[in-house]
Subunit: 181 residues, 2 copies
């Protein structure tokens, strides 16, 4: 293939993917339903199938979940809506009744090749939820997630620093390894 | 029409609907995606369209949301998944950091008539979230929701008592009024 579609309109994400995958990546956004499920793989799979049915060309979609271990999978794929509803302060408050502040940030890539075959790549970063909102960088819940091994939240890192250790990067690297072996 | 489809496999719900609507109701379950959205109307609308595309016959779907006012719309339509992940004790704990325990239980019926036209009926019951799980009756989150004007949770009521004041009953009565005027 001489290019691959990526279901995103985010130019930063598109460039990052193109760099790591070493291939031309075209951003595209179709009107595809995002289904209710606590399983981020299932959400991404459903979306990817929808895209492939329309595009009939190699593509991948990315979906992110933020899992609070105390909340048994939540917010999970609902992090976008829950983040919008509650803001970062509200997300922190959800944990007020729980002792465990550990969390996992998960990025799932579903790649569908030219024959319609599906391949899943997952990047996981462990960490903890900060007890206050910290940092102006990043977006969404970046200011409340402290990746393991760091004392800073994603929101306190600049983009280069964050992208070096992000769950999306780990997933993209797995996909690159798959494409070139 | 001499009967209407209701997207449910729950025999109790089917009977209740048939009684209130005064028409034959056939339960049916299709594989329809439930989309991510904090707007329960949108979730029900999407499902209803999917059913109508396949059935081409008058039908209605019902969707329920439980809204914690402190959580700005949440759990909302995600109550089923959040309830499964956390259990009732966990749902109560989510509010540990918030003073406001008020809530709304919402039932939305989307009815699509023989011409494919859509009608929405909403039943809302205000109330509060109990500070402990109370009662063995009902199902799901019934044991933590105390409807306004009562000292009991839905879980402490028998089915007849609950159905008399339920949000689904209010929505069904609105639909009945619409069908017969």
């Amino acid at each position: 293939m001489n290019f691959i579609y990526f279901a995103t309109t985010n130019e930063g994400k598109r460039q990052e993917a193109s760099q790591i995958l070493g291939i031309r990546v075209e951003g595209i956004k179709l009107d595809a339903p995002e289904i209710q499920s606590l399983d981020v793989n299932e959400v991404a799979h459903f979306k990817a199938r929808h895209y492939f049915d329309q595009l009939k060309h190699p593509l991948f979609v990315e979906d992110t979940a933020l899992i609070f271990n105390a909340l048994n999978g939540l917010p999970g794929p609902y992090i976008r809506d829950m983040s919008e509803a509650l803001g970062n302060e509200g997300l922190i408050k959800l944990l007020a009744g729980f002792a465990d502040r550990s969390a996992r940030a998960v990025s799932v890539l579903v790649y569908i090749d030219g024959e319609g075959k599906e391949h899943i790549f997952e990047g996981v970063v462990g960490g903890t939820i900060a007890d206050s909102v910290r940092g102006e960088g990043g977006f969404g819940w970046d200011p409340i997630f402290i990746p393991a091994g760091s004392s800073k939240t994603f929101g306190e890192m600049d983009r280069t620093e964050k992208n070096k250790i992000s769950m999306r990067k780990l997933a993209l690297e797995k996909m690159a390894a798959f494409l070139y072996t």
